[in-house]
Symmetry: C2
DNA sequence: ATGAAAGCGCTAACAT
DNA sequence: ATGTTAGCGCTTTCAT
């Protein structure tokens, strides 16, 4: 087996011109059936795999989607990646993946690296991007899909939901159920989606004539640890009957810590999360949360890039409040 | 801003030859400081991003790592991807990611697609690959790293641990603690890493003169659901005092279902998992499990590809049994 | 239905 | 330290 099999090798082997092989490989239907079979045999025999870089350089589509998520650590964005991966595969695209660690500077670096491959499109989470990042993207003039949020002014396309509206609805629903002293719980990080959730909570509280109260855990803690740590701070403070958490993992951390301390959920304190990760549906009590179709957002983003609409899309995938036992007293 | 800024554009703008710009971009240190500054300014002004496809075609390294994992769904492989992503970034590589859904045929398709980009190396999970997959890889003659297992005959490099030894040690440890009737619990799927774990369990049981007993849930169930479903089957069967689960998620599913049914863990039945996902450390009771450094395996795989050793590496990362409350009666 | 020529944007090899 | 030439493997355009 030769080290590098090229189009020309296949052509020679099949006794046709390289151009004919090229046509066949791209199935342009301009190759006669007989010649096609001949070529197919040569391809198989030589184990030819077209060089996509050469193809792209010569004018073909790169068929690459580049995606950057804040973190691969939680299953939250992993679901988006899964959607992207499946959408990409369905359209015969390859997927370039990077994680920004919630750091716009790192995002910028990744965008630069990825643009070097001239992807057909770019998928980013959220709407906090550096000026330089936006500049590069504009210069590249490729479709961009921002997921997990609905920015007021998206770069291009957006597939998400209103984190604020979801949080507002969750909080007011809980208030209506009679909870009197809900606090908002999160890690001490700067991040638009989180502040949207907090702001939804605050608006609901104010609308009900209540004083919003926010508790934060150190940013270095993992979400699970943060949820547990929050309970320490709670101590013998003013009465709190409900923890509205910035994410499911924080909520689970709090829930488990309650179990450990013999605090009955939802009777002594109720807990709600955000994100609807699967475990939250199995715990005892199961976790009230907000579900967003993370997988679908990825899948749709991939589809938008595979077949870019002429007009910018702004898809509101909505959300669903999942009422479960952790807030059902 | 021009639509496509090329090396030549930068050269013209800076008043030097393309070759000098090329040298500068690759920081070959053969460009004088003055010229360098001139070029740097032009690059910034024009927003030049080198075309990696053209570079590769002309002989530069592709600086791409291609990785295929069985699934992006669980956090298990997400950690490996995270390690890969960070390792790749540290070496200025881009990462191509795909998921095979545990399907060797899909893996084969992905390998073919990815090889079209002429990656510097390939990362695969496990050792079950089709003949054609192996053929393509051999023809590509690039480093391959198999992670999460230590095949008897790796394709090339391997970074993993012995799933069987881990399971054997876990089981015999549990047996030594006095558990008399442990069953092995998993979904009904064909997969080497799982069968290794089962076989470790069986060997430990036989060595102790006990009859191994395996319970399987339908493959279509999610791991969490499978763990719960298993408890139904358990019903009024022979006494079972310990569930050794094929994965942490199954174990958690079982644990939560026990809580739901008022079965005391570990007193009525004990539970052990495999994989050491983070939640398992927070649940009440916390979950006994086997930890494997999934992140590190990815990181090391990336490093091997970034700087391939001359000899095939076979890194046994080992495992650690984490004894926790779910088996502590 | 098939082929020939040109060139995509870059780098290696060889000048100077 | 810098420039020139050639060509990577493919697809485009324009023949035939």
């Amino acid at each position: 087996m030769k080290t590098k099999v090229t189009l020309t090798d296949v052509a020679r082997h099949a006794g046709v011109s390289p151009m004919t092989v090229s046509r066949f490989m791209r199935s342009t239907n301009e190759v006669s059936v007989d010649t096609g079979e001949l070529i197919a045999r040569s391809v198989a025999e030589l184990g030819y795999i077209p060089d996509r870089a050469a193809g792209r350089l010569a004018g073909a589509s790169s068929r690459v989607i580049a995606a950057i998520v804040p973190t691969l650590e939680s299953s939250v964005f992993a679901e988006t990646i899964r959607g992207l991966s499946e959408g990409a595969e369905a359209a015969d695209f390859a997927l370039l993946v990077g994680q920004s660690d919630y750091d716009p500077a790192k995002e910028e670096r990744l965008v630069r690296t990825f643009l070097g491959w001239r992807p057909e499109g770019l998928v980013l989470v959220g709407s906090e991007h550096r000026r330089e990042t936006r500049r590069m993207i504009a210069a590249a003039s490729i479709p961009v899909v921002e997921v997990w949020d609905l920015p007021d002014v998206p770069i291009d396309h957006a597939v998400g939901f209103s984190n604020e509206a979801a949080s507002l609805e969750l909080t007011s629903g809980l208030l209506a159920q009679g909870y009197g002293a809900p606090v908002f719980v999160s890690r001490d990080v700067e991040q638009r989606r989180l502040s949207q959730r907090r702001s939804g909570y605050e608006r609901a509280m104010l609308a009900a004539g209540r004083e919003p109260r926010c508790l934060t855990a150190r940013a270095e803690l993992s979400p699970l640890a943060a949820g547990a740590a929050i309970l320490v701070e709670l101590g013998p403070q003013q009465p709190v009957d409900l923890l509205i958490c910035g994410s499911d993992l924080i909520a689970l951390g709090a829930l488990f810590e309650c179990q450990r301390r013999g605090i009955a959920v939802p009777y002594d304190v109720a807990i709600a999360g955000f994100g609807a990760i699967e475990v939250g549906g199995s715990t005892v009590p199961s976790l009230t949360t907000v579900s967003f179709d993370s997988y679908r957002s990825g899948r749709l983003a991939a589809e938008i890039i595979a077949e870019p609409p002429t007009e910018p899309r702004r898809l509101d995938l909505g959300y669903e409040i999942i009422w479960r036992e952790s807030t059902n007293r």
